[in-house]
């Protein structure tokens, strides 16, 4: 197997008193979809934000292409070719769809913004994601429905030539058809050789598209297994109890006494 | 009740000043006139240095609250004589009351505190200033009929009211003079004055023959508008304070006159009175002023303001009010020469 594109080693992250990530190891492999699963509050989004450079990590290593890199903010991470769809979307409500999609990486002709180019590309990408009820790509994102906003966030992340795409519950608000499109897209991206990380609470989706499953339990990695080796109920057990048969955290720390 | 004088010793001995105590002076602001910081402060400092007394000079920056704070600080610091230029009589009286209760003697500087308890009053007569301005304008106008516009000082400044009253007492007597517009300029701000005058001028359809401007800053604003319409120099404008700009405008013929109140003289008089008080003596006075509110005659040292026109600009320079260098810069050098200013 090839070296992972991205590796985290023994990463810890606390917010004040709350120790959210404990010695987390996490790999993203090229050409694979890694599903990151875990209960609510397990630390999945926190892990994504640490990878994205939104949060600094308290300690631990961050390796890209096998080499340690120094990331101090989202710009550094974007420069490495990592795109992220955040669970909280992070759109600018005062801008329209096109403006949001190209934010920070506007197409220009000289110093002037090339609106023509951006508007056409935005329209194409959105159409490919089955967005059918948006009245206009010049609509402000504040007026979009929950699912429409999510689609814009996804469209924004796949516009660029990236090497890794992290999707934090990308289909949570999507309709049936749109979810289908996104799952297909996820697969296509991996097939193109990108490393894809998918966070989802829908085990059906996970089993369908993921190559590997990493389960987080109370901020610890409970398991990191190929999808082929686990079934639906095993994953659910890993998520809710941190262990399942031979898999998982040896002794369940949540029930251990001090 | 409680502990009495026992605790006082510690804080009294610290500053190592002269046994007699110190003089505190509180100037009012930095806006109504630039003289406080640029003329009075250095003159007072010089006088006090020479007399070898301890002193403390502060500026209240236009805030009565701040002035009270400063007064408290000065009394804390061991001042035994306090001179204030009040921002309004009421706050001045309160300060003097508090000073008196701490055994500190007080002097009204430049402005009389009505209902106050000052031991002396040292000042130019503000109403006389207005009268001089009125007379100056009348002389520059020459004729007996004229439309006059008034640019008064800040509406919240009582002195502005006095200046204006003085000017009116002269100009209203001339039956041919007509008041075609009168406005108070908030905070004496020339930037506001220029718009205000522009509008007075527009409203009068340009038919303004003379401008009463309460000080040189306001005069400069009025001249700016007159210049735009090619009438600078044609329409006389009054002023006050004998600032560099004002004197230059007089030399250039754009401004008719200004009133010079020698800060050196006034500061000297204050210093004399204050030093006398510090040393436990009485000061020499040259009259009394009636405090209508407090119903008493305040022993006063009154000084004469001087009207300055192109003919006697030199007087200001001789008195040290301004230096010839400052006034006769650039294009004004030749004008100075013509007017014999050096």
């Amino acid at each position: 197997m090839t070296t992972p594109l991205l590796q985290l080693r023994s990463v810890n992250k606390s917010f004040g008193n709350a120790h959210v990530l404990h010695d987390v190891d996490f790999d993203v492999h090229p050409g694979q979809v890694t599903a990151l699963v875990g209960d609510n509050g397990a630390g999945k989004s926190t892990l994504v934000k640490v990878i994205a450079g939104i949060y600094g990590r308290d300690n631990g290593d961050y390796l890209f292409d096998g080499r340690p890199v120094d990331v101090s903010g989202p710009r550094d991470v974007a420069a490495l070719g990592v795109e992220v769809v955040y669970q909280d979307l992070a759109l600018c409500d005062n801008l329209d769809i096109v403006q949001n999609m190209f934010l920070g990486r506007e197409t220009r002709k000289g110093v002037v913004l090339d609106e023509t180019e951006m508007e056409s590309r935005a329209r194409e990408t959105l159409a490919s994601l089955s967005v059918r009820t948006v009245k206009s790509v010049r609509q402000s994102v504040a007026s979009l429905s929950g699912g429409q906003r999510q689609t814009v966030a996804i469209a924004k992340a796949v516009l660029w030539n990236s090497r890794i795409v992290l999707l934090d519950e990308p289909t949570a608000a999507l309709g049936v058809a749109q979810t289908r499109q996104v799952l297909d897209l996820v697969r296509r991206l991996a097939d193109r050789g990108l490393g894809v990380v998918l966070i989802s609470h829908n085990m059906g989706d996970v089993l369908e598209v993921a190559d590997r499953v990493t389960a987080l339990y109370l901020g610890r990695v409970a398991a990191d297994v190929p999808t082929a080796q686990v079934n639906h109920s095993q994953i659910v057990e890993l998520i809710t109890a941190g262990r399942s048969g031979s898999l998982g955290i040896a002794e369940n720390p949540a029930t251990a006494t001090v | 009740g409680g502990d009495d004088s026992g605790s006082e010793g510690g804080s009294g001995s610290g500053s190592g000043g002269e046994a007699e105590g110190a003089i505190g002076v509180i100037l009012p602001d930095t806006e109504s006139s630039v003289r406080w910081e640029s003329a009075d402060r250095p003159a007072l400092e010089a006088a006090f240095e020479e007399a070898g007394v301890e002193y403390d000079i502060q500026n209240a920056e236009g805030s009565a609250d701040r002035m009270a704070t400063i007064a408290d600080s000065m009394i804390t610091n061991g001042a035994t004589v306090l001179a204030i230029v009040n921002l309004d009589s009421e706050s001045g009286a309160a300060i003097q009351e508090r000073a008196a209760s701490s055994g500190v003697r007080t002097i009204d500087y430049d402005r009389l505190t009505l209902g106050g308890s000052a031991d002396y009053y040292v000042s130019f007569d503000n109403t006389v200033v207005g009268e001089l301005q009125g007379q100056g304008l009348q002389e520059c106008l020459g004729s007996d009929t004229a439309n006059i516009a008034y640019l008064n000082g800040s509406p919240t400044d009582n002195n502005a009211t006095l200046f204006s009253e003085g000017a009116h007492s002269v100009l209203d007597e001339v039956s041919g003079y007509e008041n075609v517009g009168e406005q108070a300029v908030p905070d004496w701000d020339p930037d506001e004055a220029v718009t205000i005058f522009d509008q007075l001028y527009t409203q009068a359809g340009g038919e303004i023959d003379g401008v009463y401007a309460a000080n040189d800053g306001l005069a400069g604003a009025a001249i700016s508008i007159l210049e735009r319409d090619g009438r600078a120099g044609e329409v006389p404008v009054t002023g006050q304070d004998a600032t560099v700009e004002g004197l230059q405008a007089i030399l250039a013929g754009d401004q008719c006159m200004t009133v010079y109140k020698s800060a050196t003289q006034e500061a000297g008089a204050l210093a004399d009175a204050a030093i006398a008080l510090v040393n436990g003596e009485d000061a020499e006075t040259n009259g009394t002023t009636e405090d209508v509110e407090g119903g008493r005659e305040v022993p006063s040292i009154l000084l004469e303001p001087q009207s300055i026109t192109a003919d006697n600009v030199q007087d200001v320079i001789d008195d040290g009010g301004q230096t010839a260098e400052d006034v006769c810069t650039g294009e004004f050098a030749s004008l100075c020469e013509d007017a014999g200013v050096s």
Binding site: A52, I54, Y86, A90, C92, D93, N94, L95, Q99, L103, G104, R105, R108, V111, L113, E115, T116, E119, S120, L126, A127, R132, T133, V134, K135, V137 | E31, V34, R35, E37, E182, A184, D187, D189, P190, D191, V194, T195, I196, D198, Q199, L200, T202, Q203, G205, G206, G217, G220, I223, S224, R228, D229, G230, T243, V244, E245, Q248, T329, G330, E331
Partner: protein, 429 residues
């Protein structure tokens, strides 16, 4: 209860449903009427844009015009243009800072410092005007950079930082002008900014050029949008816009080309120099905000700073730039004000200057909470504020009446949109 099917009337609503399919994304309101309807609907939905400012201004003008017959005189209209200059420029600078959700209380005094630096170097050092002006603007920009750095790098709230600068810079002006109390502005070019005028022919040429450039630009843009099937306005609206601009620009030029002097021996004709200055800066600011990535990023930072950061925008740097532009424009404003006043005093830029300018931007339609604002807002709001002072100045009332009326008129100008908003809030939106 059995299955119910709901069928809708076919005809009337069909096209809007068809249009709502994204693949056929509607790129244009078909007619001018549609466009107008869309605008009305937007306004009723609470998106007022600059409408309140324009209506407020119209109301103000009518009231003052009725109460004083000199108000609409040529001379007074020209006065208004000059008087609005400094506040418009200051407000334009503030728009940049408000846009990113910050405030700059010190912009007024920064302008005062810049004006003092300019006036002093001309008067005492004998610098030529352009060098002095450059120095003044540089002073402003440096002040802005320092403020921006403190806000962005240390994270001190901009209200506190700029309050500190508001006080500190007053000390600087006092120190600079100290002895003289005020510095005169006698340089003919600087003075000319507000008291001289553009030669009449030059004015006409410039106005015509402006109109032609606008027309050509609009038409080209429209053609490109249509060709690429992008979102665009109907052709009739584009034409209407061009016509409006032409009428305003040429009309104003025409009015200002007539003699307006009240002094028969001294005719005054032509556009005051400050007007082209404001127009040029307005165009530049609008261009920067609407057409460049820099402008786009300013909006993003103001709309959602965290989203902007995640999109890779250097938020602290944008903050520094915004404060820098604000103070630099404030410097220009201060210099224009000193040109009109004929000098710089220790009070320059202090007092309520800044509150008025922020008020102007807000009345124009800029939000204090960031993310919403345009350069034109500063112009509209600034003209509203200047009109109040201008109109009141003609009425020659006691000081307390001036204060009262200013307050009331400000309220009225700002509450013209009250009726439509009230409807909105009644409907629970």
């Amino acid at each position: 209860m059995s299955t119910t099917t709901t069928s809708t009337d076919g005809g009337a609503t069909k096209d809007s449903v068809a249009a709502s399919d994204f693949a056929h994304d509607s790129t244009s309101a078909a007619t001018m009427l549609d466009s107008l309807k869309g605008y009305v609907a937007r306004v009723r939905g609470g998106d007022m844009g600059s409408l309140p400012a324009i209506l407020g201004l119209a109301v103000l003008m009518v009231v003052f015009g009725l109460s004083n017959d000199r108000f609409f005189s040529l001379l007074n209209m020209a006065n208004l243009v000059v008087q609005a200059g400094p506040i418009v420029l200051l407000a334009m600078g503030l728009v940049f800072v408000l846009l990113i959700g910050q405030i700059d209380l010190s912009a007024g005094v920064a302008g005062g410092v810049a004006a003092a630096a300019t006036a002093l170097t001309v008067a005492n050092q004998g610098w030529p005007w352009y060098a002095a002006v450059a120095l003044g603007i540089l002073c402003g920009a440096v002040i802005g950079v320092v403020i921006g750095a403190l806000v962005a790098r240390l994270g001190i709230p901009s209200f506190v930082v700029t309050l500190a600068f508001f006080l500190g810079l007053q000390g600087v002006i006092l120190r600079m002008i100290g002895q003289g109390g005020s510095v005169g502005v006698n340089d003919p070019v600087l003075r000319g900014l507000t008291i001289d005028t553009v030669p009449v022919t030059a004015g006409w040429v410039a106005a015509a050029l402006l109109v032609v450039a606008f027309a050509v630009g609009s038409l080209l843009q429209h053609r490109r949008q249509v060709a690429n099937r992008l979102q665009h306005h109907p052709f009739s609206v584009v034409l209407l816009r061009i016509a409006t601009v032409a009428v305003v620009v040429l009309g104003l030029t025409g009015l200002l080309s007539l003699n307006r002097s009240v002094n028969p021996n001294f005719p005054i004709t032509g556009i005051p120099w400050v007007l082209p200055l404001v127009v040029v800066l307005l165009l530049i600011c609008t261009f920067v905000l609407d057409r460049t990535a820099f402008g786009r990023h300013l909006y993003a930072v103001g709309g959602n700073a965290e989203a902007a950061r995640r999109a890779g925008i250097n938020v602290p740097r944008m903050q520094v730039y915004a404060f820098m532009i604000c103070s630099a424009l404030a410097a220009v404003s201060g210099i224009v004000q000193s040109s009109y006043t004929g000098g710089v005093s220790t009070a320059s830029g202090g007092g309520n200057t800044l509150l008025y300018a922020v008020g102007a931007a807000v009345i124009g339609g800029t939000s204090l909470f960031g993310g919403k604002g345009r350069a034109i807002h500063a112009v509209l709001g600034g003209v509203v504020i200047a009109t109040i002072a201008n109109g009141l100045g003609l009425l020659n009332q006691a000081a307390y009446i001036n204060f009262l009326v200013t307050g009331i008129v400000l309220l009225v100008a700002a509450s013209v949109d009250a009726i439509s908003r009230r409807r909105r809030s009644a409907s629970g939106l």
